[in-house]
């Protein structure tokens, strides 16, 4: 394999890896605050892209994306308030089934609001033919948008959780729910906000990747599986590790195309998921404590 080809694969891997990382971060935010693993995370990504596509018909692109992010965040809040808020001591099994049910409902709603056609947002800069040369490899300018968005999301989230009162309150909830209540933090609102935040960044990711991978009502589920793989790979709850793990998975997946038939590309991610679950559920960067699941 020539150097340029390897570089091409790497770029492709980093691009998808960045998106997986953002989905994983969305998982982690909700998991950290609530102990729930939100199987509907992929649907937020899909909804964001679909909404932006609809809006972009009569709004300039940046406004459409902003509107999509806001609306998807509200959907996230709605999901929490309608389904999650008034559960009393649910078992893990119940939580899994509920979030799967929510994921199906969102997917079917999307199917009936839009339809099963594949769509995409227009490229942010240039079009599908424009490419930038990079050490012998060619990449679309959209790739830079994806990487830039990922970096921005990670940066802003780090600042948010470290320096703002709201961010610190959410971290308090994840560390010790009861103590947070006793400190006067409205835990129920923190939970809603974590859903909103996850949905919002998921929507943003969906918008930015849409020109490259196309959007369809079904595209949420495989993304959720890969996002979950990345979250576990990095250690559940650890968002910085999720970024590393995401890039790792993206690159492995991209390189695997040179070995396996394309139809089996997704099998690589699932295979990695199973291997990690069997041998080190606490992830590459986690310790045994992190491997034990949180209570809701």
């Amino acid at each position: 394999m020539s150097c340029a080809l390897v570089l091409q694969y790497l770029l492709s891997g980093i691009t998808s890896g960045g998106i997986y990382a953002i989905v994983a971060i969305g998982f982690n935010i909700i998991y950290n605050t609530t102990g729930i693993i939100n199987f509907a995370q992929g649907e937020f990504v899909m909804l964001g892209a679909m909404t932006a596509i609809s809006f972009s018909a009569w709004m300039p692109l940046p406004a459409a994306i902003a509107a999509a992010v806001i609306i998807t965040s509200l959907v996230g809040a709605l999901v929490d308030m309608v389904f999650i808020r008034w559960l009393k001591r649910p078992t893990v099994l119940h939580m899994i089934i509920i979030t799967i049910g929510i994921s199906i409902l969102l997917k079917e709603a999307a199917l009936h609001i839009w339809d099963e056609k594949v769509r995409s947002l227009p490229y942010f800069t240039g079009n599908e033919c424009s490419s930038i040369a990079f050490f012998g490899a060619h990449m679309s300018p959209q790739v830079l948008w994806v990487l830039g968005t990922c970096a921005l999301v990670v940066l802003l989230l780090t600042l948010f959780f470290k320096y703002t009162l709201l961010g610190r309150s959410m971290r308090a909830c994840s560390a010790n729910r009861t103590a947070s209540v006793l400190c006067g933090i409205n835990v129920k609102n923190m939970v809603t906000f974590s859903f909103m935040l996850s949905a919002g960044i998921g929507a943003l990711a969906g918008c930015v990747i849409s020109p490259l991978t196309q959007t369809q009502y079904e595209c949420g589920t495989p993304l959720a599986i890969k996002g979950f793989t990345v979250a576990i790979l990095g250690g559940l709850g650890n968002s910085a590790a999720a970024v590393t793990a995401g890039l790792l998975l993206g690159i492995i997946e991209a390189l695997s195309i040179s070995l396996l038939p394309v139809a089996f590309k997704d099998v690589v991610a699932i295979g990695i998921l199973l291997v990690i679950l069997f041998f080190k559920p606490s992830g590459l960067f986690g310790n045994k404590e992190a491997g034990r699941l949180k209570e809701f």
Binding site: F83, V92, I100, G101, I104, K107, I232, L277, F278
Partner: protein
Amino acid sequence: MSLKRYLPIITLSVLVVAVQVAVSLTGQAFYLTQLTMAAYYTVVAVGLCMLMGYAGQISLGHAGFFAIGGYTSAALTTADFSNASHGWLGHALIKTGCMAAAEDLYGAHLVRLNPWVACLAAITATVIIAYCIGLPVLRLKGHYLAMATLGFGSIISKIVVGTKVFGGADGISGVPPFTITATFGVCGEMQYRIPNYYFAWAVVICAALLMHNLVNSRVGRALRAIHGNEEAARAMGIDTARYKLNVFVLSAVFAALSGIFLTHYNGGIGPSEASIMKSVRYVAIVAVGGMANLWGAIAAGAGLNFLSLRGYFGSYDEAVFGLILTATMLFAPQGLLVKPEWLAGITAFFRSSARGRGNGAS
């Protein structure tokens, strides 16, 4: 053994006969086709009910086992073994009836594998795969277990769609009937519609009987103990890992058997049978029926599958199952078809007043 214990089975049998008679008399015999298919799907629910409700382990990949059963028997019974029929092994197999000469649609000469042999091969494959998957997967708990089983089901789905042997996106068709006796075989032909209906429901009743026995046996108690408190079960000498694995494999075999029979009935199988959505449906049915309620699972399985197959849900089919899942978990986590508390209270009241005693707890 008291008759009371088998009352639900007897009720079910009577119901099955009653429905057939009613449907045939009113000239709506076409319902029987969907009822037969619903019966086979219900067998999966019975096995899953044992795994999820009694042993307390979630599986989001059971459609994978259904597919392993269905696809293996489909592939083996539609494959042409002409090349292998020469030589001493080939002749021996033909002599014992394992393989037989046949003709395809165009009259060309073929050698086909006996469906019984294919069935055996499919079950064996299922058992091996279930043990291999179950061993590492059942050490996981909660979300990790759910994701691992989801991953397994996903891999089966991808393999089935991406491999030529399994027909890719079109699946396998032209699956021959599964001859049970000289005059009857599991197939979709009109003249055998009523016998097939009874055969399918006989399979359900057998499955239910086996599960019912198991739940009330020493092993069933051990499973319920594992579900109640796994650590305490271990402290009582129960090898929890082995029990969980065996139940997992048993439920996988039920799913595979269902896949085999349904494939022969439909004359084919497609990749949608291995999809995640199908796995979720099975979980939904068990959840609605009440996790540890065998009869609830059967009722929900028969009802929901029948309605879905008849197309009553239209394009909202998936959405309905999603709604059922969510609504059940929110409003009736113990299941919709489980006796609600108020009904139990009334029953207890009548029972105690009939006995003429005042105290409540018995």
